[in-house]
Every structure is written in structure tokens, then in C-alpha cells.
Symmetry: C2
Subunit: 252 residues, 2 copies
């Protein structure tokens, strides 16, 4: 049986995506790509107009995004693009590392030639890759494939939910501080260790690989502090967009 690596979840009838799904993807894209900066107001009304939908699907999408940690909903006040919280990023990193490193054991046990070939294909594509923006999907595919081989692909959703903040940090710090080639080299090292059954080595290598993200993070924070939750201080209020002036009572 083919475990079916790529994420085509339902083999059953393909239902067209609901408006809620469309709104979710669209808004998520806005946030992750940085088109709407952290702290920006995301008004249900405004988004509904922009997406040419009613408020209901937009509202539900925002609810889901809030649960994913990408949006802060403040009742009766507004929904805002959440700031990147360094602690959240660190926790996400911790969760991800814990899961992926733990999965290596089963990965080593289940390793076969075919799986090696499938992973090799991904690695080859990564080596072709020069643009960072193209690299991220491939990176994701690689890590997901390792989980799938370990028989823990379902656990990817747990990684995913923790990864929201992390991805955004990576995306926004797009300039990148570590060359792609080094990441690919990391990947290859891990795969070789797994293929040769050196579990401990694979663990150390994967751990080191994942932790580089944190080093990048510190550089990103230094370079673009406005993306991060202000430590405290005078409670910087996120700027509301220009507002129509209030008219005093004078219908003339």
C-alpha cells in the first residue's frame, strides 16, 4: 500500500472549497506573506468587501486563524494580525523538535529503498532550488516525508499548528541569513545517517538543523523589531487606520 506522501487528504469526492476555506487561505496568505503587518486591523466588514463575500465566512475564517495564533480577536474592539511572540516561536520550535526527533526512531526501523528514492527526489529538487521562496514548500515536504515514513504523518498537524509563528518569522525574515545549500546539506546528512541506521547521529544532526532557525530568529528580531510583540512599556497601541471624523449634531 502506498502511504501517499503528498497531502491529498480525502480520496473521496472532491468538494469545491467553501467560501470559508477561500477566506481562510486568502487571509492566511496576507498574514504569512507580510502584506498585512503584525498589529494591523483585520475588519470583518472590510475583508468581506475586499473578498466579495459576506461577513459570515470571513468571520469564521478569522476564528480559525485566531485559534492558529495568527490573529488576535479582541471582543468588541477588533481583530488584529498578531505580533510574533519570541516565546511562542521558541515553544513551537521545541514542540517541532520533540516530535521530529522522536519520530526518527521509527523512521530508521521503517526505512526501505523506495522511501530512500522518494526522499532523494525531494533532495534533488532542493538542490536545484535557488530562490528561498521556492525552497520553503520543498523544505516542508521533506520534513513531512520523514514523519510519514515513521508512520506518524498525522502528527504533522500538531507540528503545523505550532508552526504558524515560526513560518511567519521565517517568511518575513526572507532575506535569510543561512544559505539554502547548507540547509540542504543538513537534510542530506540526516538522510544518510537514517539510511545507515545511525539513530543517535541522525538525531543530533536533525536537532542541530532545526535549531538554526532559532539563530536566524534572533537576527530577524534585531533587524525588524516592529514585527515582534513589544516587551511592555507604554503599551503601544496598534494604529487604527484613518477614520471618518465625527460630526457634531448638525444635519445641515
Amino acid at each position: 500500500m502506498v502511504p501517499s506522501l503528498p497531502g491529498t487528504p480525502p480520496p473521496s469526492a472532491a468538494r469545491p472549497p467553501s467560501n470559508r476555506d477561500l477566506a481562510y487561505e486568502h487571509i492566511r496568505e496576507l498574514i504569512v506573506r507580510g502584506d498585512e503587518a503584525p498589529g494591523a486591523l483585520l475588519s470583518e466588514n472590510d475583508l468581506a468587501l475586499r473578498l466579495d463575500l459576506s461577513r459570515t465566512p470571513v468571520r469564521e475564517a478569522l476564528l480559525l486563524l485566531a485559534q492558529a495564533g495568527l490573529v488576535d480577536i479582541r471582543p468588541q474592539r477588533g481583530s488584529y494580525v498578531s505580533f510574533i511572540d519570541p516565546d511562542m516561536v521558541r515553544q513551537a520550535q521545541f514542540v517541532r523538535e520533540a516530535i521530529e526527533v522522536a519520530s526518527l526512531e521509527a523512521c530508521v526501523e521503517n526505512w526501505t529503498a523506495e522511501q530512500g528514492a522518494a526522499v532523494e527526489e525531494i533532495l534533488a529538487a532542493q538542490e536545484e532550488c535557488t530562490d528561498r521562496e521556492d525552497f520553503y514548500p520543498l523544505d516542508e515536504k521533506f520534513h513531512r516525508a520523514l514523519l510519514a515514513i515513521a508512520g506518524h504523518e498525522t502528527a504533522w498537524t500538531a507540528v503545523q499548528s505550532a508552526k504558524g509563528h515560526l513560518d511567519r518569522a521565517r517568511y518575513l525574515g526572507l532575506s535569510g541569513y543561512r544559505p539554502i545549500a547548507e540547509y540542504v546539506a543538513d537534510h542530506r546528512r540526516v538522510v544518510e545517517s537514517v539510511a545507515e541506521g545511525r539513530l543517535e547521529a541522525a538525531r543530533d544532526e536533525l536537532r542541530a538543523h532545526l535549531r538554526f532557525v532559532l539563530e536566524d530568529l534572533e537576527r530577524i528580531q534585531a533587524a525588524r523589531p516592529e514585527l515582534f510583540r513589544p516587551a511592555a512599556g507604554p503599551e503601544r497601541r496598534p494604529a487604527r487606520p484613518a477614520r471618518r471624523p465625527a460630526r457634531t449634531l448638525d444635519p445641515s
Copy 2:
């Protein structure tokens, strides 16, 4: 001017829970406690009537529960209490184990006398405990405390989201197959190892402790197979409740 009315305790105003939150908690309770069995229909309309709310907050609660894996929403068909999926439970167990075991390292490093005392308090309460239903909150408190000591309390949400299926399995199999006292003894063993800095021992003990849940799971599945997703076969359709008969065209 009166600065603040007497009796308004905290600086930040405690906002009353929204109807959506109420609906969420209520429905979650229904599911986790087994009042609505896996496969049961959860109609938005019906729930709205029962909770004396409109459909909107109920619908949003269902949306969140669906994301937590407790509800299956099938568009234009119905929302159903999800079956317990053994694979999901195993994945949840894997995620939980990965996170908690990984946190032990920091836990050992950060261990202090006060923290030992706090944990000891929880353990003492657990030893007083005879009723399983009272034990679960204490169990949760213990595991959460360990994460907190490790400085990874935020990661608890990741555990939590994976824990939905797991908790339900435990709750529904309430008869319990392993005495509470043994669980507490496990806890105490882990704490002692941590306190004495024996990291590897603590890891092994915690791992073993968590895996007992899986053994219970198999017994639960054997005893109450109807709670679990039917393997395949003739696509057992979840029974719809009685339905008002269709009248043929005859207004008389």
C-alpha cells in the same frame, strides 16, 4: 471621582464568557462525558434550541470542536460526534510522549526545592484520591506542572490539542483497568528521578507511564467497539433520529 468600585477585584476587567464559549464548553462536555455517543448527530438547530441560543454561536463552537477532532462536519449532511480513531489516539500519544519526555531535560536543570514542594503537594492530593473522575484533573495538573517547570508550559496547548481523542478514550473507558495508585506511584518515581538528576531514568519511567494509556486503550476498544471508527465494511451509516414523516400533497 471614584477610581474603581469596591469589589471589582482584578485590574483587568473579567469579561463574561461569550455565548460561543458557553456553547463550546457545553457541547464538549456532552461529547467527552459520553452523553452523546460517537456517531450521534449534532444538529445546529437542535443544539441551538437546547441551549437557548441562536445557531451562530453554536455553529462556531462546532467549527472549533471539529478542528479539535471531536466533531465531524459533513457539509449539507450533518455534524456528528466523531468516532474514536485508534490511529489518532496513537498519534496523540506519540506527540504527547515526545513533548513531555523532551521537556524532562530542562526540568532536571531547573529543579529547585520549591518546585519539588509544589509537585509534592499535587502528588499528596493524588494519593488521597479514590475516585477516577477526581483523579483526571489532578493527573493533568501534574503533567502540566512538569512542563511548566521545564519552562515549556506554552507547549501544553499542543499536547492539549492532541489530547482530545485520548481523553475521550480514557473517560469513556471509565471503569479503568489500572489502579490509580499505580499511576501515582509512576508519578512519584519520575519525580524522584528528576529531583536526583537521573535524566535517563526519568525519561524511561515517564515513557513507560504514558504508554500504559495505550494498553488501557486496547482493552477499552475490545470492551466497547461501538465507540471506535468501524474499520470499513458496509459503511455503517450513523443512525439519524426519528424523522417526521413526509406528507404527500394533501393539505386536508
